[in-house]
Symmetry: C2
Subunit: 245 residues, 2 copies
DNA sequence: CCTGCGTCCTGATTTAGATCAGTCCAGCCC
DNA sequence: GGGCTGGACTGATCTAAATCAGGACGCAGG
């Protein structure tokens, strides 16, 4: 494959959509100049904040969520290395969601002006970013389908499979399983279930020798069985070769 | 307000984010050259299709949905005049969702090449489109929260209020109510509920003099009461004056 | 050392919403 | 007119998941 894979997983991801030139890679690299570190648990972005910075995640896991007036929390998505996060907080007047690191995180800060600058210098990059945002939207949509129309078991399995697929794309997972820093409470908030029920579902999955979720690890005991159970579409995140040359 | 409001509701929407120049308006207008008409019920875009066309909706209502292997349907979002639809079907190899007109629809067809062309000529437009896509994503997120963490009553009301807010922005609704071509079945598919249950919820809302859903119309009998019941954030779609000059 | 605290785990009970199985009514076609 | 069809509407029953109420383990901090 002739794609020059530069250092950042973000560049690699965009490169999977648009065949980027050296100049474009250079412009992309310039977006990574402000590297920052966040400890686990300290919100990077919060509802109502008007700081207007976004981040490209280099290492660690974060989650985006919203809190309802009643105190209930819904996690919208998790971000893993290579993901862009908080774009809406720079395009909108104020952030409409919270972003919390689940582990220690390193990320590059991107300001609105940096991004607009980069677009002006190379409009192809704008298309690539648009694609990345659309891909994120597609995942939120799949998450919506999950919560709206699948029962707790299918939902849990579909979610853990999707996470696995995403991690495989950045080399952090295999068909055997992956390291996963999520507690059952966090998982429950993402799945729209109670923690108690998530616990029962995980027990059933373990007893049926399908999946083991334990000690910060997800182990696929029967990958094919899981794919069938959750009606998981193996193709859906697949991206084989740039669409735009 | 000094924004030159050109004919299309789409241009008006983008103009609310970026202060567009005459040249930019002209480029935008050129995107509207292929006007097409679709009858109600005939899918404009369907899962797996690789035609790669998107549309800017000029009149009528459409819905985007996915069908699960079991036959269950989840409606992801409705689009109303001024909305961009099917962007993911031009950026991805194949469409990942279906789009069905709920009424007779007129729309402008946009090809991938048109869009990339327009971005090259004016990168500011790219930022504006990115903003529009992000706004759509924010709505999908709100929809996710709705389904994940609100009960049937709050969920229904929140949804109908949001639709109202969107329609007000394009002059198709007021605080009194709006014309709404949705059947209770369609509403159920959007809310992730059964049609039977939606019917019961609507009856309760009517009996409590909060909202009347009947004969293709939504009437807010007690707007403030509804906002309170659904914990609806009146500011969330609000956009007062362009952010980017 | 004991005191918390967080995570995992469980049985008993309750409830929101699904499913089943219809009725009623308006519009449409022959 | 009679026979359809599709939407709105309803009572009875069932069930998935929530909630309540706890126990057990590990480990960080005084």
């Amino acid at each position: 494959m002739p794609i020059p894979v530069q250092e950042s997983p973000f560049a690699r991801k965009l490169g999977a959509y648009v065949a980027l030139t050296d100049t474009e890679f250079a412009i992309l690299a310039a977006l990574h100049k402000r590297r920052r570190i966040f400890p686990a648990g300290q919100d990077m972005i919060y509802q109502g904040q008007s700081v207007r910075a976004a981040y490209i995640l280099a290492s660690g896991w974060v989650c985006s969520y919203k809190i309802l007036p009643g105190g209930a929390r819904q996690i919208v998505d998790f971000q893993i290395p290579g993901d862009f996060l908080g774009l809406r907080s720079i395009l909108f007047r104020a952030a409409d969601h919270n972003v919390e690191p689940l582990t220690r995180v390193t990320a590059s800060e991107v300001l609105a002006s940096d991004l607009i600058d980069a677009f002006t210098r190379t409009p192809r990059l704008a298309t690539a970013v648009l694609w990345a945002v659309s891909r994120d939207e597609a995942m939120v949509v799949e998450h919506l389908i999950n919560i709206g129309r699948r029962d707790a078991m299918q939902r849990t399995v579909h979610f853990l499979l999707e996470l696995g697929a995403r991690l495989m794309l950045v080399g952090l997972g295999t068909k055997e399983g992956y390291a996963c820093p999520l507690s059952q409470y966090v998982l429950a908030d993402a799945l729209g279930l109670s923690a108690v029920h998530v616990n029962r579902i995980l027990r059933q999955l373990r007893e049926r020798h399908l999946l083991t979720f334990r000690n910060g690890k997800v182990i696929f005991d029967d990958f094919d069985g899981l794919v069938e159970l959750a009606e998981f579409d193996l193709a859906y995140l697949d991206q084989s070769g740039p669409l735009l040359r």
